[in-house]
């Protein structure tokens, strides 16, 4: 093999702590290396051209680039060598930036380590072989998990582009958190007025199939051809018959049931249509509140239903669907703020969350939009907002900023004044975070025009005194302890990954961070991709964000899916397992360990053997490590290739 080595300076990113020229010089002496140089930016156009030039000029048959992580630019350089006529797998990378120059300043040690990493790459490259991809057909259908505003946007965009869309929503209605909001910042326009029509579009779009009150049970397969199992949870109402007339909800005797849509701010019936604009507008029974399920006596709704849709014996249904791509848009939930015992831990009825306050403000809410205290129904005169409850707080393991609380609190303070002109709002904040178009102006308006008092400091204690709540905080700008008598305390509770998000991530085989948020492919350049091909992200499941950003990501994820499924055939990755039939003894151990069922039994000259289904194999190599004969080898990561790297390190 004739190998060329290119040591990238990456400006000063690498060259600042690695002597690149010295590494290139050392590399020239490695076996099979016929050309070695250092280059300012290997990934730039002149950098790539230089590689192509060198391949041609020195008749190179293999290339090593030592630069950044292969997770960043391996595809870039593979394309470059391909342009020079080399097979793209006759290329190796040594990561001397993330793993060397950025984690230490010792020039001598870094230079030495870089040279060793290049030696490893060369040793492996010498055993590389040409690999060619296969092609396979794709299913032109997309699964959108989550029917909040991000999922709705992704679904509509994909459906408008002609793709079939299957939407799965855990709740009985789509709409997500946005459907619960009264108004949106910074325009203070009505949330349901802008979301409602889009929800209707989802229901009516010929390309969209909606499964509400459903969850993704299992996912198998791979990009282009996922097999998804959906559990449609029993609502005890046959939705093909239910007309959403609401008669059952009126007659249901269990009127004191917890109202999930209204965040517990009001009561509802046990058979319930979550809210007037619900999509689908169908009734469902909440079993934990239903008299029939609790006491065995009732059955009023079944008697009253004009279409006979109520079916107490209804069971969950399992539906299977094939899709080519998946968009996860599972959103967020509020963190459990009751850990803040100093704010009452949920014991004081007039200490509520901001989302509960949205329901009090909303005309479709339990109070018809009249702001009334939950305890006694009085109109509050003094309303205290406490920011950063469960955000930026290491003591409850929520060190991150939720990002949207500053803005919605400003909005709620404005709405408070609109609803109750004689009221006074107080906002305890640590920093006002309002980077967005028109956002900071908005937070000025609430103080200047609406006269909300902003107090820079945290609140240490809220306790009831008579029928008021005493709020004890600090005003760090005055440098003193302060107290406010409040009628109502609204906690700007931070968000966290939706309940069960990690569990879904595991089904989708995507990564998630310590807080359950899904990991994007690259923090800058792949914001809606994941490291699992064919799975994309939209909205707060990736990290908390406001409505405009969620919508933007919904569209971005749709664009990615549309791009993916615009092709009829997809290229399969040739870095997959291959069987050396001569060595295979047909023991079948590989079949039992393969997570993708990509290996099957076969026969050669009457002897049992195995073979790999090439488009199913995902290239994990578990079979390779299991095979007692070394007969099944993962291309591009064979035993010999990896051992060559080990040996390059240990033997010199």
């Amino acid at each position: 093999m004739r190998i060329g080595v290119f040591i990238c300076h990456c400006g000063s990113n690498i060259a600042g702590t690695v002597d690149c020229a010295s590494v290139a010089e050392q590399a020239a002496a490695f076996p099979d290396v016929v050309f070695s140089t250092d280059t300012l930016y290997a990934c730039s156009e002149p950098g790539q051209d230089a590689i192509i030039e060198a391949i041609k000029e020195h008749r190179l048959t293999g290339v090593v680039v030592a630069s950044c992580t292969p997770r960043m630019h391996e595809p870039t350089f593979r394309r470059a060598v391909e342009r020079a006529g080399l097979n793209r797998y006759l290329f190796e990378m040594a990561n001397i930036r993330e793993h060397v120059s950025w984690i230490g300043k010792d020039m001598q040690a870094n230079t030495n380590k870089s040279a060793e990493l290049v030696r490893m790459a060369v040793a492996k490259l010498r055993l590389n072989t040409e690999l060619k991809p296969k092609f396979f057909p794709v299913t032109k259908r997309v699964l959108v998990i989550g029917g909040g505003v991000a999922g709705i946007q992704a679904a509509l965009d994909a459906a408008d582009a002609g793709l079939e869309v299957v939407m799965v929503e855990r709740e009985p209605s789509i709409g997500g958190k946005m459907a619960k909001l009264d108004k949106t910042f910074p325009t203070v326009d009505c949330s349901s007025c802008i979301l409602g029509p889009r929800m209707v579009d989802v229901a009516q779009h010929p390309n969209i199939t909606l499964h509400a009150a459903s969850e993704v049970e299992a996912v198998s397969g791979y990009v282009g051809n996922f097999e998804v199992t959906i559990r449609k949870k029993s609502t005890c109402v046959d939705w093909s018959k239910c007309t959403g007339c609401g008669l059952c909800t009126e007659k249901c005797p269990a009127k004191k049931s917890y109202d999930r849509f209204n965040e517990g701010m009001g009561h509802t019936s046990a058979i319930v249509i979550p809210f007037p604009q619900a999509i689908p507008k169908k009734a469902g029974i909440e079993k934990e509140h239903c008299r029939l399920f609790r006491t065995g006596k009732c059955g009023v709704c079944a008697k009253i239903c004009p279409t006979g849709a109520v079916d107490y014996a209804m069971r969950d249904q399992i539906v299977s669907v094939k899709v080519g791509g998946i968009v996860a848009a599972t959103g967020y939930d509020l963190m459990d703020w009751t850990v803040y015992e100093e704010y009452g831990g949920g014991r004081y009825p007039d200490v509520i969350t901001s989302l509960q306050y949205e329901r009090l403000l909303s005309a479709s809410g339990p109070t018809g939009g009249h702001v009334k205290r939950p305890s006694d129904g009085r109109e509050p005169q003094s309303v205290v907002f406490i920011q950063c409850v469960g955000s930026r707080d290491c003591s409850v393991d929520r060190p991150y900023c939720s990002g949207f609380c500053c803005m919605y609190t400003a909005k709620q303070a404005i709405l408070t004044k609109d609803h109750l002109p004689d009221s006074q709002s107080y906002v305890f904040y640590m920093d006002i975070r309002s980077p967005g178009k028109g956002y900071d102006e908005f937070t000025r308006r609430v103080q200047e025009e609406y006269r909300a008092r902003y107090i820079r400091g945290r609140v240490s204690l809220v306790y009831p005194k008579g029928d008021k709540l005493m709020v004890r905080g600090a005003d760090t700008l005055m440098g003193t302890q302060v107290e406010v008598e409040a009628d109502l305390v609204v906690l700007a509770v931070g968000g966290e990954a939706a309940r069960g998000a990690p569990h879904l991530a595991e089904k989708l085989r995507i990564s998630y961070d310590a807080y359950g948020f899904f990991m994007e492919g690259h923090p800058k350049l792949k914001p809606v991709e994941t490291n699992t091909a064919g799975v994309f992200l939209a909205g707060s499941c990736q990290g908390l964000k406001d409505i405009p950003s969620s919508v933007a990501q919904g569209s971005a994820a749709a664009a990615k899916v549309i791009g993916l499924l615009s092709r009829d055939m997809l290229e399969s990755d040739p870095q997959i397992a291959q069987v050396n039939a001569g060595r295979c003894i047909g023991c079948g151990k590989c079949i039992s360990v393969c997570p993708f069922k990509a290996i099957q039994e076969t026969e050669a000259r009457g002897l049992p053997k195995v073979e790999v289904i090439e488009t199913v194999c995902q290239g994990c190599g578990v079979c390779n490590a299991t095979c007692p004969q070394g007969a099944i080898q993962l291309s591009h990561f064979t035993d010999n290739q990896i051992l060559a790297e080990v040996e390059a390190l240990c033997r010199f």
Binding site: E341, E342, G344, G345, R347, Y463, P464, K465, G466
Partner: protein, 332 residues
């Protein structure tokens, strides 16, 4: 029960200002079968003033001598009624996990500890090791009708991370204990607020302000008594109640017994164990109100029971009538 044998550290105030806490604690533990062996010839725990002004090593050295004295009679686990002593004993053990700190302490005591020690409050032992159900079983005179505000003070559960007892912001162990005595326990939102601690002596405006707030709240809740677990809290709220009233222009007269005194009363252990005579603000009016309420509650209960019986009786009648008229075999 062998597991309920502890070393006992009364603390300096137990010999003076909190005599009644000390005596009632011993009596209650005795009644519940918790064996206490007083640490022989114990010294000051190295409590706040020493820790405050000098150095952790010095205050821990004083604590360490106490553990060494306990070792001399074969005891490793020490309990104390005083939260301030508890905090210092606890912090000493925690800090001595660091080998250098331990060496510094040993340089002062010249008596290295040989055993692993633990320390707990009397309250924790009564709630966790004895348990409320055994306490309930020991009650002879339930505190039915007594409205009490449980006040824990600031030290009992802090630091929460290492003390690992109850909830540091909203403890409920004392609530549960008092409930098992039959008392009506009021929600007392300032249950862990500071009373002014030892500042009663050197800074006179502190206690009226901080303890005054607590008494105001207790009065607002119409509490018969504020129940405490700390000698310093008790002294500030009870002994200094007149000072507080004078400073704030209030006229509170709320008795402030230790929880162990109420236990001794409920267990019927006698005047000496109860020690209510030692309180500055008398418990007598509170007990009088309690008895009045208890009588009213009992009357209501009797009436309700009678109504219930009547209802059940008529229902049974109806049922039997129905059963009689129903065809044979019509039952389930």
């Amino acid at each position: 029960m062998s597991s309920q044998h502890f070393g006992y550290f009364p603390g300096c105030s137990g010999l003076g200002t909190s005599l009644e806490y000390e005596r009632s604690t011993r009596a209650v533990c005795g009644a519940l079968g918790v064996a206490l062996t007083e640490v022989p010839d114990w010294n000051c725990c190295g409590s706040s003033p020493v820790a405050h002004t000098a150095d952790h090593a010095l205050s821990s050295a004083l604590a360490s001598r106490i553990f060494a004295q306990a070792e001399s009679v074969g005891i490793a686990d020490i309990i104390t009624p005083c939260p301030s002593c508890l905090k210092n004993l606890h912090n000493a053990l925690r800090r001595m996990e660091d080998p250098l700190f331990r060496a510094r302490v040993e340089a002062l005591t010249q008596r290295p500890l040989r055993r692993a020690h633990t320390t707990k409050s009397v309250l924790q032992v009564l709630v966790e090791d004895v348990g409320c159900s055994r306490i309930r079983d020991a009650v002879r005179r339930p505190l039915k009708g007594l409205r009490v505000a449980p006040y824990y003070g600031c030290l009992l559960t802090r630091p929460g991370d290492s003390m690992k007892f109850d909830n540091p912001e909203n403890p409920v162990s004392l609530d549960r204990l008092l409930e098992s005595l039959g008392a009506e326990v009021l929600p007392f939102p300032l249950k862990v607020e500071c009373c002014g601690a030892a500042f009663g002596v050197p800074a006179r405006d502190v206690v009226p302000r901080l303890s005054g707030k607590l008494l105001d709240l207790a009065a607002e809740l119409d509490a018969d008594a504020v129940v405490v677990a700390c000698p310093l809290c008790q002294m500030n709220l009870d002994l200094r109640q007149d000072q507080i009233n004078a400073a704030n222009g209030t006229r509170h007269s709320i008795p402030v017994p230790y929880f162990t005194q109420l236990m001794a009363y409920a267990f019927g252990l006698g005047d000496e164990a109860e020690g209510f005579a030692k309180l500055a603000v008398s418990m007598a009016p509170a007990f009088a109100r309690m008895e009045g309420r208890a009588a009213a509650i009992e009357r209501q209960e009797r009436e309700a029971a009678a109504r219930e019986a009547k209802k059940a009786g008529s229902a049974a009648e109806k049922k039997s009538a129905k059963a009689a008229s129903a065809p044979a075999g019509g039952g389930l």
